[in-house]
């Protein structure tokens, strides 16, 4: 695929030791099928020698270098790429303020079915992730460094295991890193679920009043980052803030598969999607789901010109989240896609919190009625009530994401929602040409 070269704009400055100027993390786009973790395009993982050739040796992050690294992360505004986009430096500082030590975790449990960017990164750049984990462990003085993966993520796991072996064999000055494998269900990649699992409890989200960085695994400060966040940490440790390139890894998910690309912040989202999946279309796109299943729907016209820039999007009330772009073409029923996602999210509830267990089910039933054109005015009032009663009511953010997805859908597909309600018919009937929503694990 040459898509990524066209997508990534010329950066304003040189990139220091980093080999690739335009796509510091990924290189070319990587394609995956609609499910599974095995890439369709040929991917070759960097072995340790290749990794060092490409990026150089890992800088140490002990003592003053650690403090410097936190400053760098703050300066470049690195945010959590698992979806929250929480400022990384804030977590590190909270961890250090809580006394440091404790545990660092690299979260490679990519639960978003439409996303493949973490898998791509683990398959292509395992050493960069491990570099970031090692830097984080050194900077906060962690006593335990863990790589957390889904049990079913075989391709990513074998790549990471091989990389860990290479590093041990080469006797790199790394803190000891251990691999922990969790269940495959959607919420086992949620941070409090990981903290629970590593503390010997079931891998389910928990209710906490203190962040994991203050009190996490076994009550110790726990620094938990998505693998992409850590890979970017490893880059930042090498380049410093001055040569930083603020790219994003995005996954474009359509019915032909999932394509992972790396784009500069100035790239319009419409351009990203068209470069990857425009050829399949007769009539163009109708709308895009941005972020993930718990993300926001936007009409194509509203989304196409938005830049892939988290700070810009945040000001508009949108987030790149886990980097998913899920386009729905003009000849497909967007509300049907919304209903299937709502059902997936309801079935993926950890079933611990009443409002999530019953609220998401009620929301899924409500959107399914709407998709079938069997929703009365009373039903739509009930749907609004259930949305208001579900948001902010869980131990984790799972219900909030579901509410965001459905509320934004009602606004984005407003005309079609009205048509479903009044006439029981769809304004965009025809194909089912969009990313197939899987059955929940």
């Amino acid at each position: 695929m040459s898509a990524s070269l066209r997508l990534v704009r010329q950066p304003g400055h040189g990139a220091g030791k980093v080999a690739s100027d335009f796509s510091p993390l990924l290189g070319d786009a990587v394609r995956y099928a609609v499910d599974g973790t095995a890439a369709i395009t040929r991917v070759t993982a960097d072995d340790l020698a290749g990794h060092v050739r490409r990026f150089g040796d890992r800088p140490r992050a002990t003592g003053g270098a650690g403090t410097e690294l936190v400053d760098t992360l703050e300066e470049i505004g690195l945010s959590g790429r698992g979806g929250s986009h929480f400022p990384a430096a804030t977590k590190w500082r909270a961890h250090l303020a809580a006394g440091g030590g404790g545990v660092v975790v690299a979260n490679g449990a990519e639960s978003e079915p439409a996303s493949a960017k973490d898998t791509a990164l683990m398959q292509l750049r395992p050493h960069l992730i491990l570099d970031g984990l090692a830097c984080a462990a050194e900077a906060v003085g962690a006593v335990d460094a863990v790589l957390w993966l889904h049990g079913g993520a075989h391709a990513a796991r074998s790549s990471m295991v091989r990389a860990l072996g290479e590093r041990r064999a080469a006797r790199l000055p790394d803190p000891a890193i251990r691999l922990a494998v969790g269940p495959d269900h959607y919420l086992s990649g949620e941070s409090s679920a990981i903290v629970n699992a590593l503390s010997g409890r079931p891998a389910l989200p928990g209710f906490t009043t203190r962040p994991a960085a203050v009190s996490g695994v076994h009550g110790m400060p726990t620094l938990l980052h998505n693998v992409e966040t850590l890979a970017r940490t490893a880059l930042a440790a090498r380049t410093g803030a001055a040569h930083h390139q603020g790219t994003s890894l995005l996954t474009v998910a359509d019915e032909t598969g999932r394509t992972v690309v790396e784009v500069a912040p100035s790239t319009p989202l419409g351009e990203v999607i068209e470069a990857v999946s425009a050829n399949r279309l007769a009539g163009g796109e109708q709308a895009v789901l941005i972020g993930g299943f718990g993300g926001s729907w936007l009409t194509w016209d509203a989304a196409a010109l938005l830049p892939a820039d988290e700070n810009y999007l945040r000001a508009q009330g949108i987030s790149l989240g886990a980097g998913v772009l899920l386009p729905v073409p003009d000849d497909a029923c967007g509300i049907a896609v919304v209903a299937r996602i709502a059902d997936f999210l309801a079935a993926s509830s950890a079933r611990q919190c009443g409002p999530c267990l019953f609220g998401l089910r009620a929301l899924a039933d409500g959107t399914a009625e709407l998709a079938r054109g069997q929703s009365s005015r009373r039903d739509s009032r009930r749907l609004s009530l259930f949305l208001a009663q579900t948001v902010g009511r869980g131990a984790c953010n799972h219900p909030d994401g579901s509410v965001r997805m459905i509320e934004s859908a009602l606004a984005t597909f407003a005309a079609d929602v009205e048509s479903h309600r009044r006439r029981g018919s769809c304004l965009h009937p025809g194909s089912a040409r969009s990313f197939p929503i899987p059955e929940p694990v």
Binding site: P202, T209, R210, A350, Q352, G354, L357
Partner: protein, 228 residues
């Protein structure tokens, strides 16, 4: 960061008001019963009047208790989340209102029969086990059932002053008062076919509701399924 709350130093309005309400209802119910009973005696001169009033109050109180326990089972039933009306708050209010009425008619039942010289129960028989000359075992079941029901009601009225882990188990266990009261009804008052049918049908109804409540799939069961 989080404060574990200390118990309030001065008893708050809610608990005292509840106890006061229970006391007022008991006293006024009993007084009303005594008045009505003496009224009947003096006016009609019918010696059977207190006996009939006492038994009628007993059956009414039993039916109210059945409704009370049924509503309690609904309140805690895993399927309750599908029930939109009455609202959860109204359901609790109704549960409390039923308690008050049950208490009124129980008080009437006890006072009338305790003061009836021909009933063979007396104050001691109505308050303590095995002190009645009339069907002592049957009356004792009623007496124990009454105290057990009172325990359930009073602990619940004190919720907020008693910790949840104290009043909640007592509240649930003491609800078996209904079993004792049922036996009391069958043994002491099951002398006509109509009443036997009444006890059989209401008993089966409560048993079915209790079975459904304790075997229905709960959110915790769903969670356990996820963990497997």
């Amino acid at each position: 960061m989080t404060a574990r709350p200390s118990p309030p130093r001065h008893a708050s309005v809610g608990g005292l008001r509840a106890i006061g309400l229970v006391a007022a209802v008991t006293v006024s119910g009993g007084a009303a019963g005594a008045l009505i009973a003496s009224g009947f005696r003096s006016v009609s001169g019918n010696r059977m009047a207190p006996w009939i009033i006492g038994r009628a109050a007993g059956i009414t109180s039993y039916l109210l208790l059945v409704a009370l326990v049924l509503l309690g089972l609904v309140l805690s039933h895993p399927w309750r989340t599908r029930l939109t009306r009455p609202s959860p708050a109204a359901r609790i209010q109704l549960h409390i209102a039923l308690t008050v009425f049950t208490l009124v008619f129980t008080a009437l039942h006890v006072v009338v029969l305790a003061t009836d010289r021909f009933a063979g129960v007396g104050w001691w028989g109505a308050a303590l086990p095995m002190r009645a000359s009339y069907r002592p075992v049957a009356v004792t079941l009623g007496v124990v059932g009454m105290w057990s029901g009172l325990l359930s009601g009073i602990t619940a009225a004190l919720a907020g002053h008693l910790p949840g882990r104290v009043w909640w188990p007592i509240h649930k266990v003491a609800a078996v008062a209904l079993i004792l009261v049922w036996l009391h009804g069958v043994l002491a008052g099951g002398d006509t076919n109509a009443l036997r049918w009444l006890y059989l049908s209401t008993g089966l109804l409560v048993a079915a509701a209790a079975f459904s409540r304790y075997t229905a799939r709960t959110p915790a069961d769903q969670l356990a399924e996820l963990r497997q």
